[in-house]
Subunit: 269 residues, 2 copies
């Protein structure tokens, strides 16, 4: 097998499973070539991936070491993505009244969502998270993509306890967006006490729901090591939590003049 | 730039956006090389991808043509995946009583789910679907991955109408699993009348919920062109719909002897 073909196989194999460690001998055996050749292949594969601006190959040394693909995104690509996301979000036909916007088409557009996920994968890759947690429903595709890119299990917190979740723990919290007390519920099997979670969601206004996720995880002694939200409303200024990373900020939604103010977060990293 | 590096870039670029068509001149300009060189690069990239058994590069000729990555999975890999999935599902600690099994850890394991998705991507790539539809919650990660691999928008049908969904249409249906009437609701903005949907879900027993998805889509004159379910219970034998593709079949769940019968579907393709 030629080097050209080997490079393609290495890139496809590693990027299919972001974060998954492959020992070098995996590729030595696959191609039946020496370690020195594989090292050269890997360096070429790494430079290919880097030039796409979508990640890199990391080498972990030691007996349990190997190589793995880490998903990332360049500052330039983040800016372009924010510009596209802003423009699509500004479309005034999204205005539903009561300050609500229709955003399901964006949150369920997997091409957009997989790129948004790579922002959070880059931001939180060293957070030490054991899980990616979200509360149903609209943030699930984004959380799924982040979990995949960081090679972490996904935890989906439900609105209602379900028979198929086994024993659950539930909490009540106040949602400012809906102006009422809401419930969330998590399976006792979903997390290991003492672990760490990265919280991902599609939207945050006052932070009640995001804080709720923190609170329910705290019931299991699970600490939150990062919060990534696609769209954060500027109002109310005072949120129920302070430490979060937004991709975009949502400003004034003017129902009369059909305008939506949207701003990119220029300080993601 | 050397050919080895170009191959890596082509593989990464195409596989990052499955199904997305790239005109040949995109790569000609990116690398500043002639079309003939790119054609040769693409043929090498295609052979690399094929030898991983995870897909291939398709060439669409004509003025609006180009190349795209199509996700797939070999018969061998399907078998290995089914064996792994069976073994994990057979774990008797999943038994919750009342015939229910805890499967969230499997359905929220994105490495497993992305491979399951490639089975459905292969099965339904020529179905002509315009959307991938599911009903919340547990099938969403799988449906997200299928939508991504087929480059289709995702439609998530909700259990309750939400303000953030705008005008919705709701239906009631009978769920045999829960032995009661349940509701589902879809935003009027989510689908275009007359289009086609592929239905993806994590589990089916009697088919009430899957049939419900069909029925609510029919309210918008959206026809179902395929149904893919990760786990289908053998009981009841008579389902509310006949045309579906399972990855695994769930047989007897014996609470007394702590055994779970699981069988791979040997006729997926």
């Amino acid at each position: 097998m030629k080097r050209t073909e080997r490079i393609g196989i290495i890139v496809k194999t590693l990027t299919d499973s972001p974060g998954k460690l492959y020992p070098l001998h995996y590729f030595c055996e696959l191609f039946d070539v020496a370690k020195s050749s594989i090292s050269e292949d890997l360096s070429l594969a790494d430079s290919s991936i880097r030039s796409t601006g979508t990640g890199y190959i990391e080498t972990i040394s030691g007996a349990k070491g190997g190589v793995r693909f880490m998903s990332s995104i360049t500052a330039e690509a983040v800016e372009a993505l924010q510009a596209e996301f802003c423009e699509r979000l500004r479309d005034s036909s999204r205005i539903l009244g009561g300050g609500f916007l229709y955003t399901s088409d964006l949150m369920f557009d997997t091409a957009l969502v997989s790129k948004l996920a790579s922002i959070f994968a880059r931001k939180f890759r060293d957070s030490g998270a054991d899980y990616v947690a979200t509360v149903e429903t609209k943030g699930i595709p984004l959380a799924t993509m982040v979990a995949h890119q960081l090679d972490l299990p996904l935890v989906i917190i439900r609105r209602e306890a379900k028979v198929s979740e086994g024993s659950t723990v539930s909490i009540n919290y106040f949602s400012g967006s809906y102006d009422r007390v809401q419930k969330m519920s998590i399976s006792k099997r979903a997390v290991v006490p003492g672990s760490k979670a990265l919280v991902i969601d599609d939207f945050m206004r006052g932070g009640g729901s995001t804080k709720g996720i923190s609170d329910i995880l705290a019931e299991f002694d699970v600490s939150v090591v990062g919060v990534g939200i696609a769209i954060v409303s500027l109002e109310p200024e005072k949120k129920r939590l302070t430490d979060y990373t937004a991709v975009l900020y949502l400003g004034d939604v003017d129902e009369e003049n059909h305008t939506i103010q949207v701003f990119p977060n220029e300080h993601i990293f």
